[in-house]
Symmetry: C2
Subunit: 241 residues, 2 copies
Amino acid sequence: MSERYELYYWPGIQGRGEFVRLALEEAGAEYVDVARLPKEQGGGVPAIMNVLASTAMTPFAPPVLKIGDRLVAQTALILHVLGPRLGLSPADEPSRIFLHQVQLTIADFADEAHDTHHPIGSSLYYEDQKPEALRRTKEFIEHRMPKFLGYLERVLATNGGDHLVGSALTYADLSVFQLLAGLEYALPRAFSAYLPKIPGLRGLADRVAKRPRIAAYVASPRRIPFNEHGLFRRYPELDTP
Amino acid sequence: MSERYELYYWPGIQGRGEFVRLALEEAGAEYVDVARLPKEQGGGVPAIMNVLASTAMTPFAPPVLKIGDRLVAQTALILHVLGPRLGLSPADEPSRIFLHQVQLTIADFADEAHDTHHPIGSSLYYEDQKPEALRRTKEFIEHRMPKFLGYLERVLATNGGDHLVGSALTYADLSVFQLLAGLEYALPRAFSAYLPKIPGLRGLADRVAKRPRIAAYVASPRRIPFNEHGLFRRYPELDTP
């Protein structure tokens, strides 16, 4: 368990990388958030470009995790590989696969949260797709957010209410904390109106927030604040009135 | 290898289920495409609704594969679980993880192909989001399709050109065939203009198309034709002029 990890992710945002950071922090893992180092120490965006140019196990996009000489990309897959190493996955294989399935659904939900402010394309600014963002966010608030959160609430309830999968904390529980924090940041009015329907997830997120290592991480400068460059962005005009 | 599989997917479209069907067909696996059975034999959409209502290993959405008493959802994860069982994955674990990573990237690409015609939301008709679809498809053709296909071409080339991962056919090779067929159907002009840039992928798709079981499947009534309800849809106004 003395493995050392290198995370490659955009240095100015929580983004998809935050799901990985939370798992590493909860486990007290030894890791370097490479792109957040100064350039003279091998950090910055060039470090990410360098890893994307790899000719072995080539990643498509960050986050990328380096484990020894292996590269792993795709957020949910990184967590699937990390889970057993960090003690954040159940022991049996069918439960690990189901946990991965739930995390892939969380990843889909995160993608849709991103697309609320970028429904046309990531190469364009938000300001250049605002009318479309208004329509898409309305759909997200009315249909997609309830569908995804309702699903996760149901998975949690059928598993007894303490954890999404298995009988101990997993990386998906940490991701629920991140999802709820992100939605509360991005769409405070719509999210607070929906919150009474997901008491289980709310309780889980509260318990995660109180875990000593998570609380210490969130209070530290290692936790990048939410901002208008990441996955969850606060554009008040997109929220319900 | 005498396992019997049950696939649960929308009966009228290729959609995401097709990536799974191609793997099952190539392997000559014994499977039932449950929702395509008549309702009196337990088929139709109610069969899908029934499996989504499961209280164990609850899936969020189809496709869902039943293996014995296990349910697995999320297209790329189904393939990851099926791969070793069907002989469509490399033997070593790091290669299997990389293969899964490539398939997850293919899944992201397929999602973006879908969103070209549904950039605002799946609960609305295409006709109700046409101006947005025009803008999003332009972005897709100019930026996203070249980025994803360029990535896959590079992965194929660095692996020697015969297969995306490892030294034998995998489910990701089959998925390349499906991706290229889908893009050619949906955006014939834009795709044919781009095709000269991906000779490796084109050759791979051609080799897959000639495999006896794939050729027999594609010629059979089991292969649902492309149509305007699936992932890849032909709306000529979205294609380049």
